[in-house]
Amino acid sequence: MALRTILLAAGLGLAAIPASAQNAPSPPIEVPEVEEEGLSGSVTDDSAWQDLGIAIPAFATNAERSTAANSQGTGALGVELGRVVFNDLRNNGLFKPVGPDSLPRPDYAQITAPAWPTWQGRAAEMLVHGYVRAEDDGRLTVGCYLYDVQLQQQLVREGWVVNAAEWRRAAHKCADLVYSRLSGESPFFDSKIAYIAETGPKDHRVKRLAIMDSDGANHRFITNGQATALTPRYSPDYAKIAYVSYLNGYARIFVYDIGSGNQTLVTQSQNPTFAPRWSPDGRTILYSMAVAGNTDIYRVPATGGTPTRLTDTPGIDVGGSYSPDGSKIVFESDRSGSQQVYVMDAGGGNQRRISFFGGRAATPEWSPRGDQIAFTHIAGDLRVAVMTPSGGGLRHLTDSWQDEAPTWSPNGRIVQFFRTARGSGETSIWQVDLTGRNERRLNTPVGASDPAWGPVLP
């Protein structure tokens, strides 16, 4: 499944234009936060980016050849590659891209030597060029170049060798390259989402485990719906998904191995076990178990073994999300009388409450950047919100009747959650930027809930 990154040579027989790293537009404005526990959060002011036009024409090909990736050959594939890059950047909301369907098509030689006059009249400050080559072994070589139109300079370039079936990944890598170079953020387009697909009436919902690419492509159902599946989580290496299933009539945690299709039972208890979570190194699974009216958080080695109990209060302690360095866990507990957010050391010590605003706070998730905790704020309606790891800086990201269970994109920039419609109970997956902007619904085949984002694919 690995993608091979290649250094793009001046292999097209033209002089390579040296990348100029000093070409960035004015630096983003930092919003300073109070120093807390050595972690400081900052959210860049993106208003400068909103008008940044990026032209993304179709990718060129050195020779029209048939390929498993597209029934009409590499030329048509080049158009599709451009469209995937365009849609990634357009949906992200950070820039104003224009895609292959509205632009002239460059030829192969122009990929490394753009025809500047074509692009300079078009109110596009940035230009993406790419090529695709079908190799004899069936694989594809895809090159991606980002140019500053005004300065007529190449900003960054990279290439990849992929199996034909994984052509979309090369496009996502290109979008990631452009996005990272221009925004300064880490990449996230080349990643996958696990979630629960929902069908059926409100009092008899069929819930199936499903996975898809971050843009909704390559959708696949994993379970058949005979037993209710809930709350999936990708392992950090993408090899497995931990989730809850009612296979035997009660809630138990399974790990599904994506490569082999095997299912392994993680929790053997007759007591309900739920809320599975992976540690950042993939070696530990957290889970919650309800015994005689009391729910606590446990951890168990991902390969199996003896569980260790982490919480021990006469209340409901549930969930749990590791800090990116694995040293702490944020979780929810009603030990104070209502659901609130707590932080503890990864070994269970030093448990302390951090949510002290009104209402209830639930489903906390630590950002992969370590600087924010996303959670569900319940005060009348259920809203997605963020706060710092010490409980300050509360900001609401959504304002709807019922939004819950936020999880993070791999770069800690986008929060994903599900929304329940009042009355019908229909669910859908949404994303919103950390600034609260660009709230958008993900296209899924049927109803969707419990979304969990995996890391960037290597």
């Binding site: 409100k202 009092d203 709350t231 639930a362 319940i378």
Partner: protein, 169 residues
């Protein structure tokens, strides 16, 4: 094809004619009733006693108890219903039961799974206090996954915050 059809018709006529019998000259004697009369058994029109259908019928709604928002305490009405359940379970001592705990939709999923278990457990504990053996009772939580009332209003949510006792045999 027509020949076969004709042949079949002829055969069936023959078969029918072969079936017509004359009644025997003398009928066999009527069977003598030599056994002692058994008391008439009740007509089998309802569900089997000790089954889930029977339990539901007898309980007439008292197989379910209800809770306030976020609460799991057993109020007076719940106590009355649980007493009826305990009586039934005493009457049919071979029967086991599962108590299903539920929550309304107006909360987060994982907390509601925990809350459902808490409610089911509260019902179980009360049944035990009324003399039902603990090993006859098990607990399951469905959180907010199995509502019975479909609206998004207080009345529907009140009906969904419940613990339902289900008999298993």
């Amino acid at each position: 094809m027509k020949k076969i059809a004709l042949a079949m018709t002829v055969c069936s006529v023959l078969a029918l004619s072969a079936c017509s019998k004359k009644p025997p000259a003398e009928l066999p004697p009527a069977p003598q009733d030599t056994s002692t009369p058994t008391p008439p058994s009740p007509p089998r029109t309802g569900p089997v006693a000790g089954s889930q259908e029977h339990f539901r019928q007898v309980m007439a709604g008292r197989d379910t108890i209800f809770f306030d928002t976020d609460m799991f305490n057993i109020d007076a009405e719940d106590q009355a219903a649980l007493r009826e359940q305990a009586n039934y379970l005493t009457q049919y001592p071979n029967v086991r039961a599962t108590i299903e705990g539920h929550a309304d939709e107006r909360g987060t999923r994982e907390y509601n799974l925990a809350l459902g278990e808490r409610r089911a457990n509260a019902a179980k504990n009360y049944l035990i206090s009324l003399g039902v053996a603990a090993d006859r009772l098990s607990v399951v939580s469905y959180g907010k996954e199995r509502p019975v009332a479909l609206g998004s209003d207080e009345a529907s949510w009140a009906r969904n915050r419940r613990a339902v006792t289900v008999v298993m045999n």
